[in-house]
């Protein structure tokens, strides 16, 4: 259509506003497409596949696509698997609480008491420094620290506080909790620091002026205003901890079985249908946890 004809035939033409709107829509779609394609092919499709495979028939070393609920029945009636769900939930909850307990004061310091933006950034970067090494090294580094002849035991024995090495430190649930808390704490610190940094200092001064003590200000002003940060941090930590297997594998001495470990071992022994069931269960748990977290705080209002 030529420029001339569009000028004269108003019935077939679009107003400049409509053209602009069309262009904007086209741009939005072109920005969305790569992400949508990626999500479809590498998330939606595999998820559907996992659900489908969880109903396949599992024989000792192979699966075939005859549909059955046998794997589900087996999974849900097996004490091993049910206790793995329980262990996963317990470890998740303890690590979540530990990351908040350890991370919140750090975030409070960086976000509220350090008012110099450069120093704030430097401190946040310092929190990330452990991530410059690989995940596995960070986990394994706990062994010489917590082992029976590790740093902590040696120091405590030299100081005469204990006479025999503490054995619960390594290859126990304790070491898994310590390892996970250390690794995931920074994902709690980041979002909380961000929310705390956004609190207008004069709001805190106003509360002080109205006669509130620091404790009251913390409870009534600082904590509620930083809660969205805690929730976002909790979502990060939850998603990562619930799907964890490596920390448990290398620090628990095979005593702690998470759903993630079950999936790894089932896949290792080619039990695809079982692995798929565990995968679906894990996905349901994560979805429920995130849904719960989002119910607690209205993030739309806070962002």
């Amino acid at each position: 259509m030529s420029a001339l004809s569009t000028d004269t035939h108003s019935a077939t033409t679009h107003s400049p506003a409509e053209l602009r709107e069309k262009k904007d829509r086209r741009r939005a779609i072109s920005l969305l497409t790569p992400g949508l394609l990626w999500m479809f092919f590498f998330m939606v499709l595999p998820m559907a596949m996992v659900i489908y495979v969880s109903f396949w028939t599992q024989t000792t070393f192979s699966v075939n696509s005859t549909l059955t609920t046998a794997s589900w029945k087996h999974f849900l009636s097996s004490a091993t698997y049910l206790s793995a769900i329980w262990t996963t939930l317990r470890i998740w909850l303890i690590v979540l609480i530990a990351t908040v307990v350890v991370g919140y004061p750090v975030a409070l310091f960086i976000g509220l008491f350090v008012r110099n933006k450069t120093l704030q950034t430097a401190l946040l970067v310092a929190c990330v420094i452990p991530f410059w090494t690989s995940f596995l090294i960070r986990v394994i580094a706990w062994r010489p620290m917590l082992g029976t002849e590790g740093a902590i035991n040696v120091i405590l024995m030299k100081l005469g506080i204990i006479s025999e090495p503490l054995t619960f430190l390594l290859f126990s649930e304790f070491s898994v909790l310590v390892g996970m808390t250390q690794i995931y704490c920074v994902f709690m610190v980041g979002p909380i620091t961000f929310m705390l940094g956004r609190i207008d200092i004069s709001v805190i001064e106003a509360a002080r002026d109205l006669g509130a003590s620091f404790g009251t200000i913390f409870r009534r002003i600082i904590l509620p205003l930083s809660l969205p940060g805690v929730i976002v941090g909790a979502i990060f930590v939850s998603v990562m901890v619930l799907g964890e297997f490596a920390t448990a594998a290398s620090l628990s001495g095979r005593k702690v079985n998470l759903l993630g470990n079950i999936i790894v071992s089932q896949v290792g022994s080619l039990k695809w249908a079982f692995a798929a069931v565990a995968g679906v269960v894990l996905t349901i748990i994560i979805t429920a946890v995130i849904a719960l977290a989002l119910r607690l705080v209205d993030l739309r209002k806070e962002m």
Partner: protein, 340 residues
């Protein structure tokens, strides 16, 4: 009565306040006029206790308050940006102090509710209690900030440029309301502003802060008509301040000041006998509605301003770039002794 004596505050090399002596009497609306950067916000922060003075004493009714934690000082502070609690409703904001203060908090919900509602009615916020503070207008936020402070019945209320964030119409209305509210409560207000009109309109007394000290503290008409020194006169934005030597004839010396509206203009050489006169070049004019402002440049570069009232014009037609004689009655002149 709030008393500051010899209060000083330094930030590194910068001196914000150097030996401020200042009194805010009981039941008074006190305006504190100062240019931006003159240390007026610092002064309020010292009184409220967000910062401590390097030297000097601050006391209320003879009781020394510097060194006391700010939440125990019983002083109200209204922030320029209002600093409302964003996660609380209007009513919760107003009730905050009553409910959560460390000394003698109210525990009876009914009493909190009653006092909160009374105060909201006083500042004109009735019916807005359940609203989120993000869902009300700028003027209403200002009222919340005020109500939140006043409901605690502080010994003195500090207002840090309280009208700065409001548009012009609202500012004029809030001026009247602030005065009325203060009169009903009988508490002293210390209102800090950079606007001389605001300071003169609002204050029962006006203090001028310049160079880190209070240069004059007087009733508004007194301050306006008889500024005690060049600094005070400069802040009123109504006085031409210049060297007496510019004037023909040897009638005075040192720095003198003449009000904008007490200067007259005639053609060069046509200044009446017996009136001090000086030559100056007409630069440009500014029409402000009821008044017109004309700018002149004296021989030593000093800028002179002459105000003409539209209803009683007294200036001749002026041509830009041309020289005129500016003259005034000898008794209109104010002479400042000592350092300017």
């Amino acid at each position: 009565m709030l008393t500051l004596s010899r209060v000083s505050r330094r930030y590194g090399e910068t001196v914000a306040l150097s030996g401020v002596d200042f009194v805010v009497p009981e039941n008074t609306y006190m305006s504190l006029l100062g240019a931006s950067g003159s240390g007026k916000t610092t002064l309020l922060r010292l009184i409220a206790g967000y910062e401590e003075p390097d030297q000097g004493e601050i006391s209320i009714d003879g009781e020394r308050i510097d060194g006391q934690p700010s939440h125990l000082r019983d002083i109200g502070f209204v922030f320029q940006n209002f600093a409302l609690f964003p996660h609380l409703t209007v009513a919760e904001n107003v009730a905050f102090g009553l409910r959560y203060r460390a000394s003698a908090p109210l525990t009876k919900e009914s009493e909190i509710k009653e006092r909160t509602e009374d105060m909201m009615a006083l500042v004109g916020l009735s019916g807005f209690g359940h609203r989120a503070v993000s869902a009300i207008s700028g003027g209403q936020r200002q009222r919340v900030a005020l109500a939140r402070t006043l409901v605690c019945e502080p010994r003195i209320v500090l207002l840090d440029e309280p009208l700065g964030a409001l548009d012009a119409n609202l500012r004029a209305r809030m001026c009247d309301e602030l005065k009325a509210i203060r009169e009903r409560l009988g508490v002293s207000f210390l209102h800090v502003t950079g606007s001389e009109t605001e300071a003169l309109t609002m204050g029962d007394k006006v203090a001028v802060l310049a160079n880190g000290r209070i240069v004059q503290s007087d009733a508004p008409d007194m301050l306006f008509n008889q500024p005690g020194n060049a600094e005070a006169a400069r802040h009123l934005n109504a006085w031409n301040i210049f060297e007496a030597g510019l004037c023909r004839g040897d009638f005075s010396s040192g720095t003198i000041a003449v009000r904008f509206d007490q200067m007259d203009v005639s053609a060069e050489g046509a200044a009446p006998q017996g009136r001090p006169a000086l030559g100056a070049k007409y630069l440009t004019g500014e029409f402000n509605g009821p008044t017109a402002l004309s700018f002149f440049r004296a021989d030593d570069g000093t800028l002179l301003q002459v105000i003409d009232h539209l209803s009683q014009p007294r200036l001749p037609d002026l041509v830009e770039g041309q020289r005129y004689d500016i003259h005034f009655a000898p008794q209109a002149l104010r002479q400042f002794h000592g350092a300017a």
